[in-house]
């Protein structure tokens, strides 16, 4: 690809006086090359070359030795290892957000993603970019919006875009020069709201300023209140001066009841009047947080704790004494409005919040974990029976996937969720050892709508992306991956996947330094073509990964066949029956009208009858249900 070495700009106010004079010249050369520098990669190294997956690996074991170990370093020419995925396209950052001579420049870091229609909104430490991915093999840039303010977490709702501003250098006018005064009304820390009715020309509407700024933001919709949406603001940086934003102060709550610590902020946004967005509550969701039971401690530790409690003549402590304890903030919150819950990743705790009263979330559960450092984010299983928390040990800038780093540190912890009680089940960490030059730790991911299974794709920074199945919460299994070598062979240079999410049939990954990657899953022993086809029947008009939507599968032959494939894989139904059911489905699909309905109704009844005697009765019933739904289709 042509290297990108020049910005291009339509803003007539743009000035060349601060830039090299060669700029205009190189601009002329690059104006066409720089705007959409995606490379469609039909056959990336090690990939299944055919979209149909004809030559995909059907081996039931992962490649060994792991090809992710020892990959060649490089920025755009790093070695790649890929398994059960196909890299559809790799698109470099726009010219405005990429400087070839400063690899890993933090200011040009690509961050989180949000989706609406064919558009991908990609945050960046210097603003955000909007990509059109109608053709996933050739994403096209629609906007590169310049507006620094650290990680620029993005969330989209209809014609509104919400962008987090946290750092002290963010300006209300989106300028690049920072804010050097310790107190300044030019500083923007909070939520910037843009009108994206025309994505090519986002219009700033308002910045809702908050005391601690916004590290991340979470959209929460209220099924009872379509006129408003709510934003939960998590901010982990310091509290600013009341001279800069009146009412802001820090300190312990017993000394200062109005402290901006120990709370989150809730912004209410009237959809028709976003300019009226304001903070409507600051819920103290950490109040009276008792030290929850920790697991993963040795029996000796548990005994010692009991002995300490006994020696002090009282029961194990509720709230530890001394200065106010517990988290002062959350790092991120994942809302799941369909089940009225949110998962808060808050310092040393994973919290379960009841969000049915959207403006006033209430904590209803909490877990801690001896192996967890900094709780980062939460993902619920689609049925709400499990929740997965990740630990961003080292904040994403440190190499925490070295062979010396423990598999339970900087990993995911999987909990079952029964009657709002979280029970630890297992850890999952991307298993391939990375170098000391690669920042690597658990980061952002989302569910992949495989019916009947809990499958998730997750970013691990320079550990690449990992797709894993956590249907069995005690035994998560990796089923696909992609990884590049380090940005630099001799020193740590920031890069890797910040976020990797499934969106309407593809996996989109925000590459910190390399741009936007789009993948397709390919059929394998772990995932059948039918399961993939069924996953692609789930469509969202918009998707904010931290506002988890309930996945609902329309009736389809793919879904029925996906369940049959799962029963074959798990040996949950006799193989003779598997063959017969497949044949019956094929026959029904060829038929039409009442003949099809009759065949499907008969098959569903058969399956219901034999479920209790099958190895996997629950799955056979799901299959029967899927067939019955097909029968009901007109």
């Amino acid at each position: 690809m042509t290297s990108e070495s020049s910005p291009q700009r339509t803003d007539a106010r743009w000035s060349a006086t601060r830039a090299p004079s060669s700029l205009a010249l190189s601009l002329a050369l690059l104006a066409t090359a720089a705007c959409a520098s995606s490379s469609a990669t039909g056959s990336s190294p090690g990939a299944a070359p055919s979209p149909a997956g004809a030559s995909a690996s059907m081996s039931a074991s992962a490649p060994s030795p792991d090809p992710r170990v020892g990959l060649r370093a490089g920025w755009y020419d790093a070695g790649e290892a890929i398994w059960n995925l196909r890299l559809v396209s790799a698109t470099r950052p726009s010219a405005a957000f990429s400087n070839p001579s400063t690899p890993g420049d933090s200011r040009l870091t690509n961050t989180d993603l949000a989706f609406s229609g064919n558009y991908v909104f990609q945050g960046n430490y210097s603003g955000y970019q909007v990509w059109d991915i109608a053709n996933p093999s050739k994403p096209t840039l629609r906007t590169a919006f310049v507006c620094p303010g650290s990680q620029s977490d993005v969330t989209v709702y209809k014609n509104l875009l919400f962008v987090s501003a946290e750092a002290t250098n963010g300006r209300t006018d989106c300028g690049l020069e920072g804010v050097t005064d310790t107190v300044s009304h030019d500083r923007a820390r909070g939520i910037r709201i843009f009108d994206i009715t025309d994505v090519a020309k986002p219009k700033p509407i308002i910045t809702v300023q908050t005391c601690r700024g916004s590290h991340t933001n979470t959209l929460v919709t209220d099924p009872k209140d379509p006129a408003n949406v709510y934003i939960y603001v998590s901010g982990s940086a310091g509290v600013r001066s009341p001279s800069e934003l009146p009412g802001c102060s820090d300190g312990q709550p017993d000394e200062n009841p109005n402290t901006a610590l120990f709370r989150i902020e809730v912004i209410k946004v009237p959809v028709a009047h976003p300019e009226q967005a304001r903070i409507v509550s600051s819920p103290r969701i950490f109040d009276d947080l008792s030290a929850p039971a920790r697991h993963a401690e040795t029996a000796a530790d548990v005994q010692a704790a009991a002995a300490r409690a006994a020696a002090s003549g009282r029961a194990p402590r509720r709230a530890p004494a001394g200065p106010r304890s517990g988290p002062t903030q959350c790092h991120d919150i994942t809302s799941y409005p369909a089940i009225g819950l949110a998962g808060g990743a808050c310092a040393g705790y994973g919290l379960l919040l009841d969000i049915r009263d959207v403006a006033n979330p209430v904590r209803i559960g909490a877990v801690a974990d001896s192996n967890f450092s900094f709780w980062h984010s939460a993902t619920f299983s689609n049925d709400g029976s499990k929740v997965l928390f990740s630990d961003e040990w080292g904040g994403g800038t440190q190499p925490r996937c070295r062979v010396t780093d423990k598999p339970e540190w900087g990993a995911n912890a999987i909990f079952t969720l029964v009657d709002n009680k979280m029970e630890f089940q297992s850890y999952y960490k991307m298993p391939a050892a990375q170098t000391a030059e690669e920042n690597c730790v658990a980061h952002n991911g989302s569910l992949i709508p495989i019916p009947g299974r809990d499958v998730m794709v997750q970013a691990w920074y320079q550990g690449g992306i990992s797709v894993f199945d956590w249907t069995d919460p005690k035994h998560p299994v990796e089923i696909a991956y992609f990884d590049r070598g380090p940005m630099d062979a001799s020193q740590p240079v920031s890069g890797g996947s910040w976020s990797a999410y499934w969106y309407n049939g593809v996996i989109v990954s925000s590459e910190i330094a390399r741009g936007l990657d789009i993948f397709e899953l390919t059929p394998s022993a772990f995932l059948s073509r039918n399961e993939l086809d069924a996953a692609k029947t789930v469509h969202f008009d918009h998707f904010n990964p931290q506002e988890q939507p309930r996945m609902v599968w329309p009736a389809s032959f793919s879904m029925a066949r996906a369940f049959v494939d799962q029963l074959e894989r798990s040996k949950g139904l006799a193989s003779a029956r598997i063959a017969a059911v497949r044949q019956a489905l094929t026959g029904a699909e060829r038929a039409s009208g009442t003949a099809r309905q009759g065949a499907l109704t008969q098959l569903a009844a058969q399956l219901e009858g034999e479920a209790s005697g099958a190895g996997d009765a629950a799955k056979v019933r799901m299959l029967a249900g899927a067939v019955k739904e097909l029968a009901a289709q007109r």
Binding site: E4, Q8, R9, T10, W14, S15, A16, A19, A24, L27, A31, T32, A34, C35, A96, S101, T102, D105, S106, L108, N124, Y125, R142, T143, A144, F145, V146, C147, S150, A167, T168, N169, T172, D173, L176, E177, V179, T180, T182, A200, K201, P204, A237, A311, S312, P320, A321, S325, G326, H331, G348, A368, S370, S373, F374, W393, G394, G395, T397, Q398
Partner: protein, 211 residues
């Protein structure tokens, strides 16, 4: 400028936007990165923070290094192992930041006096750092007494790091480099979390516990 505008439109469908509110011209982030060769502006306070924090972290590594041989509890050993890994990695980060900017890079191992007490560049003691007496007290302890002292002193030590971050951001122009902002914010986030954890690990009758 007219040429640029024309090229921008003709060259591709994309445009680079900035807030309409902005009345003065600005560079693109990429152009800014080229102009300063990837080194955003920083202040003496940023440099002093990095140098001081190296010495500060070095003492935490020294403290954590005592744990395996003092008969510490299992959960204290795990905590110390985590602190050791985290703070060594962060020292490497700070050294790199200073080196890339041609600043004096403290060697965390070179500033220990006989008691293993990390002495920062200018001889000043950073907030929260253990006094030579406290360090000697910790070195002489074992078993449950060691656990209590280790946790008590590490809480004191971590709280000092939080103070250092607060002082950094109270300094005009400091923390504008996102590398510094992000690192300092991570220090706060991690150490607040660890302080809270250590408080729950402390014996109920300890000095840090005020019923």
């Amino acid at each position: 400028m007219a040429l640029l505008a024309v090229l921008g439109i003709a060259g591709c469908a994309s445009t680079i936007q900035q807030s309409e509110a902005r009345g003065e011209p600005a560079l693109t982030p990429a152009a800014l990165a080229r102009a300063d060769s990837g080194r955003p502006p920083y202040t003496p306070a940023d440099v002093a923070f990095m140098q001081g924090m190296i010495a500060h972290h070095a003492q935490a590594v020294v403290m954590a290094g005592l744990v395996p041989t003092r008969g510490a509890r299992g959960d204290v050993r795990v905590l110390a192992e985590r602190i050791d890994v985290a703070q060594r990695d962060e020292i490497a980060f700070m050294q790199r930041w200073l080196r890339e900017r041609g600043q004096t890079v403290p060697d965390p191992d070179a500033h220990h006096d006989m008691a293993g007490h990390a002495m920062p560049m200018h001889g000043a003691i950073m907030p929260g750092m253990l006094s030579p007496e406290q360090l000697a007290q910790l070195q002489a302890a074992a078993g449950a007494e060691f656990d209590r002292l280790f946790l008590t002193f590490m809480i004191q030590h971590h709280e000092g790091a939080l103070t250092m971050v607060e002082e950094l951001f109270a300094s005009p122009g400091a923390g504008q480099d996102v590398n510094v902002f992000r690192f300092a914010s991570d220090v706060t986030a991690d150490q607040v979390t660890e302080i809270e954890r250590m408080r729950t690990m402390l014996p109920a009758s300890s000095s840090a516990d005020r019923p």
